[in-house]
Symmetry: C2
DNA sequence: AACTGGCACTTGATTCTACCGACTGCCAGT
DNA sequence: ACTGGCAGTCGGTAGAATCAAGTGCCAGTT
């Protein structure tokens, strides 16, 4: 068709990834500037950037190459360039400076984790807020799924005549409850006796197993026990659906300036299942960033997601994520997500007595 | 100064509230039309409205009066009129047609309440989503505060060596837990003995009382028991802070078209305490609607809030709310909020055995 | 061969003007 | 007490002119 097909001027020379060093520098300059200003970046600006010691004309010719190769686009002729998803991808893979959190933010994290008390649910909830405050993006925290936790305790507590609360404690510290309505009235003593029977029979089973065992364990069968079994099954199902915490939704309204975009992204975040799947998908593919269409989820094509796993014990089932525009400060987001995820993981492992190194101080 | 000072043409005639019947009709027409179209309403449209059988000229002269009295404003000369907060207020107090939910929505509510299972927290959470789906506004649900509930059961469950879970069941069915780390290792038997002692000693107390009683109840004192006491205090505090559930935040992005407004409203909804205070305030003043600045909360001056109480037992401490622009469909919002709130109240009373009439069917 | 300065050109944004249309306020007439 | 008619007021829109940013290309330099 036209001119030179292969664009790199010195294929053998020193390179960052696939790109000429200078072109990489140019791309980097475009990305960082565009992330900061949301304005297409022109060759003149890039030429002034330290690290690019050539004239704007030269930058321009490199820019056409970068555009030909799909790293940059022009919104229209005679505008500056903006990065494509591929451009951002190259940036995070090869150029992103080691993410450094500002010291004030570092402190904020430290204070947070020094102070957290209370239970996991609360910690995760508040961590999502923390994360959204460390960055200008919306945060998502998916609680580690309870995996195959076993029953640690079962108890029946009478709340009112013919109204009983079933409380189940699982080996991972989760507590679930279900109210049961009775047909017949049961005395406190009877409930107590049933409780101890159930405990003895069910401790150590997984939930579904426990549900099956109920009649055997109690040594009798009745409508009531059947409903206990049903409740256990229900709990088992509920345990599988991971909890999602959304932090700082208002950040989305800062990050996007089209109200319609805000609406559609928010409405997606309302579907918790989608969020979980999305994050898990990205993690499963071994990524920590999904840019634009990389996650294959149409409605979020204008978004980037930064994810970090939260592992408790051996399995990485939890996750923290940041959701923002593709025009995102990746180093910052990555740093924030990693700090919070690792700190969370540590906390949750601590809580289980799987103490690790023990040096919770510096690093 | 100028012409007639008293505006009403026939002060003795039949009136709706403070207003001439015709003027009331005009106001009503303006409100309903403006709510629907978000466009200033002109005299010509109003004159065509059934119920107003006068010419546009007459409507115009009434409109100047309505404007003089503060019910309407013109965004600029030669535009139609839009209602003021006072105008909306008059509308909801005197003109709002009995709120009628469309049958599909009615069905939605019915199905929802037929299907809900599981515990209060989940029900409230999902109710907030339901409410936001019944209307185009964001919904808020504040859980009834647990008031002065008493301890129903206390249990210590060992999770790992030196790691114990304290599970407390309250008389209203709430279950709270706290993990405790031990210095010394305690055997299962010892924990069991302590549990039963605690149960015997603390059942029936309120939480703070229970916290004080711990050493007495257990018949001994130790670091461990002290931490149990502390945990109980913590739980008591946590119980006081009511849970807030936010439904359909994306609806805010539909309701407002300035992204900055969306942001600021969202960021307010993130502060749960503020939301609780706001709703309670409105309810305490005996209102079910707060329009614009009526709630005295500056940042929400462009919003209206529709509230309905959720009462469990005798005290109305919970609430459901809808948050939208002052240009809101009040009849619809009121109807939706009332249905959900009363249905929720009923549910929660049922769950406590305070069965009422018993006719859960039609109505 | 690689780079640079210069220049013509393209094109979105901005400003200005003119104009249209939607309403109003007023008034004379019924 | 209402109404029809009419002049007057503005916002919104369309079109033309201008502006400024930034490009692509090319001839010239090192």
């Amino acid at each position: 068709m036209s001119t030179k097909t292969r664009g790199s001027k010195a294929p053998g020379g020193p390179a960052a990834g696939e790109l000429d060093l200078r072109r990489a520098a140019i791309l980097e300059a475009v990305v960082t500037e565009y992330v900061g200003t949301a304005t297409p970046v022109g060759s003149a600006y890039v030429a002034r950037t330290p690290g690019v010691n050539v004239s704007s004309a030269t930058v321009r010719s490199d820019m056409v190459a970068l555009e030909r190769d799909g790293y940059l686009v022009q919104p229209h002729t005679s505008a500056g360039r903006i990065p494509t998803d591929k451009g951002y991808r190259f940036f995070v893979d090869h150029l992103a400076p080691a993410g450094v959190l500002g010291t004030p933010q570092r402190q904020r994290v430290k204070r947070f984790f020094d102070r957290v008390h209370g239970e996991m649910e609360e910690m995760l909830e508040r961590a999502s807020t923390l994360l959204s405050e460390l960055t200008p993006y919306a945060a998502v925290v998916v609680s580690p799924s309870h995996g195959s936790s076993t029953v640690r305790s079962v108890q029946l507590v009478s709340l009112a005549p013919r109204l009983v609360l079933l409380v189940v404690v699982l080996s991972d510290g989760a507590v679930e409850k279900r109210t049961l309505e009775l047909d017949e009235e049961l005395s406190e003593e009877e409930l107590g006796r049933l409780s101890t029977r159930l405990i003895q029979g069910l401790v150590g089973c997984d939930l579904d197993g426990a549900a099956e065992l109920v009649p055997d364990a109690a040594g009798a069968s009745s409508d009531f026990l059947a409903s206990v079994g049903r409740a256990l099954h229900e709990i088992a199902r509920a345990e599988e659906s991971d909890q999602v915490y959304l932090g700082g939704p208002s950040r989305l309204a800062e990050a996007f300036d089209a109200v319609e975009t805000v609406r559609s992204v928010l409405s997606i975040l309302e579907q918790q299942l989608v969020v979980v799947t999305l994050l898990r998908d990205v993690l499963d593919r071994g990524l920590s960033v999904a840019i634009g269409t990389e996650h294959g989820f149409e409605p979020l094509a204008s978004c980037a997601v930064v994810v970090a796993p939260v592992s408790v014990g051996d399995n990485e089932t939890g996750a923290v994520g940041l959701l923002g525009p593709t025009r995102m400060n990746y180093p910052q987001a990555l740093a924030a997500a990693h700090v919070v995820s690792s700190e969370l993981s540590e906390r949750m492992n601590d809580a289980f007595g799987h103490h690790r190194g023990g040096d919770r101080g510096g690093h």
